[in-house]
Symmetry: C2
Subunit: 347 residues, 2 copies
DNA sequence: TTGTAGGCGTTATCAA
DNA sequence: TTGATAACGCCTACAA
């Protein structure tokens, strides 16, 4: 038997198609009796509304795009997806993941997007837009919400963690523990794209200065390219540790841009038979699973919650309401674990 | 300006709507000249086909469902999603993730699914179907492909790793290293659902027997409930280690059902100042990131590749072709790292 | 290779 | 509260 259509249900229930549509969507202005009749008929015919037909007729696609930077199978991105999904699914929206890993893909994505009215809104994670992108963005005609983007420019709403405040608390911790010289180790920073985490580098500089560290007391060491494989990350970490330890007076307090990156550095340090917090203190950022595994002190953020919040803002925007808070900044809090402690004597 | 429709393009290009449709979909039987004209007109009008309208008219949704067990933000599930996405996206298909964590949700998912013709195919990851589900499944009328499912029953095609062979190689390793007594530690096994990884438990029993281990030489220790949070996993691991070490002659060779679970156990063991491979050997399963972090010997599988393969089978099925291999079993190979070695003396 | 025209299954507007 | 009916934007025989 062919699938039932709305008119089959209408016939079975003895009402019009319009009434079936109203009843099944839980719309107001349907008498309880009628609604019950319709629901029964639909049930009997094993009928549900076709999403495609609804979409076409209403102009609403019931889909929201989630654009993340980098692969989907990272802790952060997957968690954001989970968070977005959790609030969107009950509302009947599909979450459609998409990702870009470099500028070229990003441009292509936006070039194709406006021509493609196949989503009602878009959530953009972890990177910023320059003017060019900004223009295309506004041409989209759909709500755009940012998640952990370096700035709020171009977004109808946004949610993100307060990187600067978090980094400051981390620096303060190291200072409290007596570390005279501190370092920040970070991943490659591409010139053509601004990532959410990139702001942490600048934040460290600022925080360190404010905490009283002189220029000679802070060292910044970055990777010179993106590390896509574990083996490459490993090599990069080795290089960074080499530079770290060959400073004439090496820093004893180390902060990393992300837990993953920090973990790689930490492992290399241990391979030199240096131990934390005996010989140095090290802390990551994110509170990703790897930080638990290694008992790494870190700065906690909750990407699932961020995803939830972003999705809620999308929902509000879609309803034509203003989100409770348009641009929201949530704290990332210090999680003390085993890799930080009093600075070694004599340093 | 309102969005252009296909008839605007037709008018601009001086052809019929049908020709525009054919040209834009890359269909055959369109002269290069006409195609060029159409493409130009579409470009000028910033036009692309509406997915919803196409779907409605053609009956094809260009969407495939990916049903995973457990949250999306696990290494395995996120990687499968990535893998599926990678091959489906270029073909114009959206990947729509969905997940269920228990039997009730699973039932609900399938109860709603047939009434909801909003996907062309479905990929089901990591669990099996009993007869009841099987029936609903075939009523779906769309291709169903399995990924790491315990059996191939009910699937039009499937891909998975050979758990039994992998477990066997692990057991052989422990035997070669001289471990007289071996243990298998595993997560909770619910009674109402069969997971892909559950088969590893039985596989261990079989492999151990075949390798010559007597009943007294193998110990199986499982969790008695699912551990959803890190803290709970931690507690469970503590209980397991307690049982492990309180055996009158405790096993020195340990295999775990998954890397994550194994890592939790390993950490607890270390907290007792036991070291691998000095005091015991331990190996995980999956080659998840945590196994690298801890230098854990493990059995490698590649969920991204599994996702790729599953998606390719979907594509073939959707084209009405038979996949190159309908039911495929790929090996999971032993990765030697630092946590396995010769059994301690005198054991 | 291209055009014609009916239909895909809803939603939304307007009356009743 | 309910019913007619005209969109919604494209696909696909079928015909030319």
């Amino acid at each position: 038997m062919a699938r039932a259509t709305i008119s089959d249900v209408a016939a079975a229930a003895g009402v019009s198609q319009a009434t079936v549509s109203r009843a099944l969507r839980g719309s107001a202005n349907v008498s309880p009796a009628t609604r019950a009749k319709v629901e029964q008929a639909a049930e009997a015919l094993n009928f549900t509304l076709s999403k495609s037909a609804s979409t076409l007729a209403s102009g609403r696609t019931m889909r929201v795009l989630l654009l993340v930077s980098g692969p989907l199978n990272t802790w952060f991105n997957a968690s954001v997806l989970q968070g977005v999904y959790d609030v969107l699914a009950p509302e009947g929206y599909d979450t459609i993941p998409a990702f870009v890993t470099n500028r070229e893909q990003l441009d292509r994505f936006f070039r194709d997007l406006p021509r493609d009215r196949n989503a009602d809104a878009i959530i953009i994670t972890s990177f910023e837009f320059d003017t060019a992108l900004h223009d295309q963005l506004s041409a989209l005609g759909m709500p755009v919400v940012g998640l952990n983007s370096p700035s709020t420019a171009g977004f109808d709403a946004s949610i993100g963690i307060d990187n600067a405040a978090a980094i400051t608390s981390g620096v303060q911790l190291l200072r409290s523990l007596g570390h005279r010289r501190i370092a920040f180790v970070h991943d490659y920073i591409p010139h053509d794209m601004v990532y959410g985490t990139s702001t942490r580098v600048a934040a460290f500089r600022t925080a360190a200065a404010q905490a009283g560290y002189g220029d000679d007391d802070i060292v910044m060491i970055g990777a010179d390219h993106h590390d896509t494989t574990p083996a490459m990350l490993d090599a990069t970490a080795a290089g960074i540790v080499a530079r770290l330890l060959s400073c004439e007076q090496h820093p004893t307090g180390i902060m990393g841009e992300t837990d993953e990156f920090t973990a790689a550095v930490y492992k290399k340090l241990r391979r030199q038979h240096l131990a934390a917090p005996r010989d140095f203190s090290i802390m990551g950022f994110d509170d990703a699973p790897v930080s638990r595994t290694l008992d790494l002190t870190t700065l906690h953020q909750n990407p699932v919650a961020l995803g939830n919040a972003a999705a809620r803002k999308v929902l509000a925007l879609l309803r034509g309401e203003a989100p409770e808070r348009t641009h929201e900044l949530v704290p990332a809090t210090l999680v003390l674990r085993e890799t930080t402690g009093r600075a070694p004597n004599g340093r």
